[in-house]
């Protein structure tokens, strides 16, 4: 039949059917083989590789999401909220769902303000996130922005507005130098912290209490095991371990006292530090000028930052912790006590002030502030009138070595150990220091001026306040504490935190101490006291000491006239005090930069601050929250 393969052949239906059946059978066999081969593929997938694919299916389905803990709140000593968390919205982009981020940001900026700095921050931070995490673009969206985005949401795949809790400091600049602020987690932070615990966290304490107490405030991150669909949307929560909120902190700061000191300083740069001598807790820590920390929370713009930098008075500088000032006459009570305890002087020691003091063999005079001098004075009256000659003589007799050793016990020249970072050390000069730092021997004249707190002496306001507290409470030097109490998430009540004692200054003769305290009492309450003006109408008894720190060294023969000297060159005004005299509840140091005289400028500020504290203390309000 194969021979009939031409157009003239005759169709043979029977042969054709046989041919078809052969072909169909062959095809069927091939098809069965193919199906079997295919099924073997399915067998391989579904039986032999089942485990691996089942695992992949499971990991497709389930993802673990971090649950960021709520940051602990911060209260002041009286229970006022000074750092809180407010509900807010941030804009996030999920990178894996976006093709062209730049174009997307351009398009988004039509709805939501996205500045150069936001873009910069976004580009800096994006590599820290996994492709399926939301990278924050902008924080703290306004209600209008949230609404505008909601209407246009369909245009932006991979962009989301996410609710979160935003840190807010209701007292703004008043507490900046205490609290610090939180800011975006950056490279350095991420290297430092436990990455696992910060998976869901976007903010971290940058300075101040927020930084120092970061571990407490942050809390413990939780997680959520969620079922997500292919687009990453959560379909179902399978398992949840709640985050443990951060510890709420109570600071020893009293906002009312802080505010009083702040207001009293007025427009002048300066610092006020007040410490409770009974327990070393810090009642007020003011550094002026300051800035609004809320600006930093969501990443400050370069322009705004430059504005702060260029503000006169350096608002970023924490004077209370780091400001170095010559203590001037405020050091005299401590020098006096050093002389008494060393036996160089006693209650009966009298010195004649003629207005000028000479070291034997030298012609250079050392002056009293009053022309013609104060006449015969003992220690209390020398303190009362701030008689330099008495302390020149005392310092000469004591010598720099003993003076250094004694004053060091009050914490001068060393950090106080307060619970916040960035504290300055100040400088308590010694023979060894001068040799090491200047490669020069110590000259006797330097001992003379060290005796009145001048020369190389540098103190910070905090150091000075803590030294006063130590003096007032009978020599118990605390490491001052800002943290007053802490309430962990599972605590019923806040647990009191106590300041550790750094040192008990040895007391050789309690009467020596009383003598110095009496002298300080006379500064305010004596008839010739340099700060007697602030005693007026006081419902409690204040003891204190004025001081003036030279900024501008007078040439020989010149007299100092404040009105004739440019503001920046005027002396710093200082005042230290404690009250009530009989039972001290507050110790304070006030420094007003270029304020002029301590008695006229600094002392009234102290009085207002003391009032704010003692008025409520004495009307029976407790000191605890």
């Amino acid at each position: 039949m194969i021979a009939f393969r031409n157009e003239h052949a005759i169709k043979d239906p029977r042969d054709e059917r046989k041919l078809f059946d052969r072909r169909a059978t062959t095809a069927l066999i091939i098809m069965v083989v193919c199906i079997l081969a295919l099924l073997s593929r399915y067998f391989w997938l579904q039986v032999l590789s089942h485990e691996s694919f089942a695992t992949r299916s499971e990991s497709n389905r389930v993802s673990i999401r971090p649950v960021a803990p709520n940051r602990g709140l911060i209260y002041d000593r009286r229970g006022r909220v000074i750092a809180e968390n407010l509900p807010a919205y941030r804009l996030e982009i999920i990178l894996e769902k976006v093709q062209d981020v730049t174009a997307l940001l351009d398009e988004l900026s039509e709805l939501i303000e996205i500045g150069e700095d936001d873009r910069l921050n976004f580009n800096k931070s994006r590599r820290h996130y996994r492709v399926f995490d939301g990278v924050p673009v902008r924080f703290n969206l306004s209600e209008q922005e949230v609404a505008r985005f909601a209407v246009n949401r369909h245009r932006f795949a991979g962009v989301d507005v996410v609710p979160y809790l935003s840190r807010y400091y209701p007292y703004r600049e008043l507490l900046t130098h205490v609290l610090g602020y939180v800011g975006r987690l950056d490279d350095a932070d991420i290297a430092r912290v436990d990455a696992g615990n910060y998976r869901g966290t976007r903010m971290i304490g940058k300075i101040g209490i927020e930084q120092f107490q970061e571990t407490r405030l942050h809390g413990t991150s939780g997680f959520e095991k969620v079922e997500t669909n292919a687009r990453g949307r959560v379909v179902n929560v399978l398992e949840r371990k709640d985050a443990v909120a951060g510890t709420d902190l109570v600071l020893s700061i009293d906002v009312a006292v802080q505010q009083a000191a702040w207001d009293a300083l007025g427009e002048r740069p300066g610092s006020v530090v007040a410490i409770d001598p009974r327990d070393g807790s810090v009642i007020a820590l003011v550094s002026k000028p300051a800035y609004d920390p809320n600006m930093f929370v969501h990443g400050i713009s370069q322009q705004a930052y430059n504005e702060i930098l260029n503000t006169p008075g350096r608002p970023l500088f924490n004077r209370a912790l780091r400001g170095g000032y010559e203590p001037g006459s405020t050091l005299k009570p401590f020098v006096g006590l050093a002389g008494l305890e060393a036996g160089v002087v006693n209650a009966e020691t009298r010195v004649f002030s003629s207005g000028k003091f000479y070291i034997e063999g030298y012609s250079r005079p050392y002056h009293d502030w009053k022309d013609g001098g104060h006449g015969w004075v003992t220690l209390p009256s020398a303190l009362e009138q701030s008689v330099n000659t008495y302390f020149y003589q005392l310092a000469m007799d004591l010598g720099i070595d003993r003076m250094h050793a004694y004053l060091a016990q009050f914490g001068f020249g060393a950090v106080t150990g307060i619970d916040v970072q960035g504290e300055g050390k100040g400088l308590l000069p010694s023979r060894e220091w001068k040799r090491a730092a200047r490669e020069e021997p110590w000259y006797p004249g330097e001992t003379i001026i060290a005796g009145i707190g001048q020369g190389f002496n540098v103190v910070t306001p905090l150091q000075l306040a803590n030294a006063v507290a130590t003096l007032a409470n009978g020599g118990k030097r605390y490491q001052p504490r800002l943290l007053y109490a802490a309430k962990r998430a599972d605590d019923e009540r806040a647990q009191r935190v106590r300041a550790p004692v750094a040192l008990q200054v040895p007391i050789k003769n309690p009467q020596d101490w009383q003598l110095v305290l009496d002298g300080m009492d006379r500064v305010v309450n004596g008839t010739r006291g340099t700060a007697r003006a602030i005693a007026l109408d006081s419902r409690y008894r204040i003891a204190g000491k004025t001081g003036t720190a030279q900024v501008f060294k007078l040439a020989k023969g010149e007299t100092y006239k404040a009105s004739e000297i440019a503001e920046q060159l005027r002396d710093h005004a200082l005042f230290i005090a404690f009250a009530p005299f009989e039972n001290p509840r507050i110790a304070i140091a006030v420094i007003v930069e270029h304020g002029g005289g301590g008695s006229k400028v600094a002392a009234p500020i102290a009085r207002q601050t003391l009032d704010a504290w003692l008025d409520q203390e004495m009307t029976g309000q407790g000191s605890g929250p």
């Binding site: 579904q46 089942h50 299916s57």
Partner: protein, 363 residues
């Protein structure tokens, strides 16, 4: 007496075996679709309506005797070619020109060619002596290549492949000699590099992805990887109806259309796949049986090639879902969501039923 009555006044003449198999597959398919659509009952209704239309078309066509169908064949083929040419100028569709908008319905002329090409080749070979002579082979190739190239140009490689294979199967069943067949196969392999040159970039990507899906797991490789995960995680017995996580959580792309077999594999496991394959094989075997007992050459070739084409659907789709064949837009017959393909297939089965019910007229 019986023969004086028009057949359509009596009981419709159907092949109960074929009908039973079709209804089984359709029922299973709707069940899987309910799950694949995310339990969207409206989608199931829509598909059921289309299948109903297809079944109705099948019923109508099955009542038309094969020789009448053969009279229509050249017209059908001619209209199909004209419409394919029309898509060249008037076609609509995303990135391709597959659809003709006829106002009321959108219509894919290439779908029509899946029927028209084997019909036309069978029509042409019907009066010829088989095995076909060289000249007949040449004409047959012409008949199948013109629409194939027009469809490939759209571009729609999947349909072009099905159309070409349906024509080739007709030739094969007509007894085209093995030597020639292997020769064609050789030419096809040799032409592969040329094909690569004329392919669009997305088609090349599909081939690249097929060769190594893990290169771009979130992009082009995503479909294949997620499909394999769905199949593999199904295991022997499956995760259970409506319980497929890959499907419900939308990891499987095109899960109610081209990749619906992945959903079935995930939820019904290897047993489900085997059951489905068995049903398809029975359907094909039944088709071949109908062809074998057909009244005349043209009917035999048509029924045979339609059966074999069905196999290509199954093989290409299930190969694609399990990652052994590249992604080509070929639906799983009677199960994938979509109207045109279902109606075409059922119309084809209508012709087979017609061939079956008119077998008795031969001696």
């Amino acid at each position: 007496m019986k023969r004086l009555l028009p057949s359509w006044l009596g009981l419709p003449r159907l092949d109960p075996v074929l009908l039973a198999l079709l209804l089984l597959i359709i029922g299973f398919g709707l069940m899987v679709l309910y799950s694949a659509s995310g339990q969207d009952i409206d989608m199931v209704y829509r598909q059921a309506i289309r299948l109903g239309v297809g079944l109705f078309a099948m019923l109508v066509i099955s009542q038309v005797p094969p020789h009448i169908l053969r009279i229509w064949t050249p017209w059908l083929y001619g209209i199909g070619i004209i419409m394919l040419l029309a898509t060249w100028f008037l076609g609509v569709g995303r990135g391709t020109q597959r659809w003709l908008d006829l106002g009321v319905v959108r219509f894919q002329p290439s779908e029509l060619m899946k029927l028209a090409v084997p019909m036309m080749v069978a029509w042409y070979l019907h009066p010829k002596v088989l095995p076909p002579a060289w000249k007949a082979v040449g004409y047959s190739l012409g008949i199948l290549l013109i629409p194939t190239l027009l469809i490939a140009r759209q571009p729609d490689l999947g349909t072009a492949l099905l159309v070409a294979s349906s024509g080739m199967f007709t030739l094969y069943l007509a007894g085209l000699r093995w030597r020639v067949l292997f020769g064609f196969a050789g030419v096809a392999v040799a032409a592969a590099p040329v094909l690569w040159l004329v392919m669009k970039e997305y088609q090349r990507d599909r081939v690249r992805t097929f060769l190594n899906p893990e290169v771009d797991p979130l992009g082009h490789g995503w479909n294949i990887i997620q499909s394999k995960i769905a199949v593999g995680s199904g295991g022997v017995t499956g995760k259970g109806w409506l319980n497929g996580t890959q499907s419900n959580l939308e990891f499987i792309p095109e899960r109610h259309t081209d990749f619906i077999l992945a959903v079935l594999s995930e939820e019904f496991g290897l047993l489900g796949v085997m059951l489905l394959m068995l049903m398809y094989l029975l359907l094909i075997a039944r088709g071949l049986h109908i062809a074998s007992i057909a009244r005349d050459t043209g009917s035999r070739l048509l029924a045979g090639s339609l059966s074999l084409t069905l196999f290509v659907y199954v093989l290409v789709n299930s190969g694609m879902v399990s990652g052994v064949l590249p992604v080509v837009g070929v639906p799983l017959p009677l199960i994938s969501y979509g109207g045109t393909s279902a109606v075409t297939l059922l119309a084809g089965f209508g012709m087979m039923m017609s061939i079956f019910s008119h077998r008795k007229f031969i001696k």
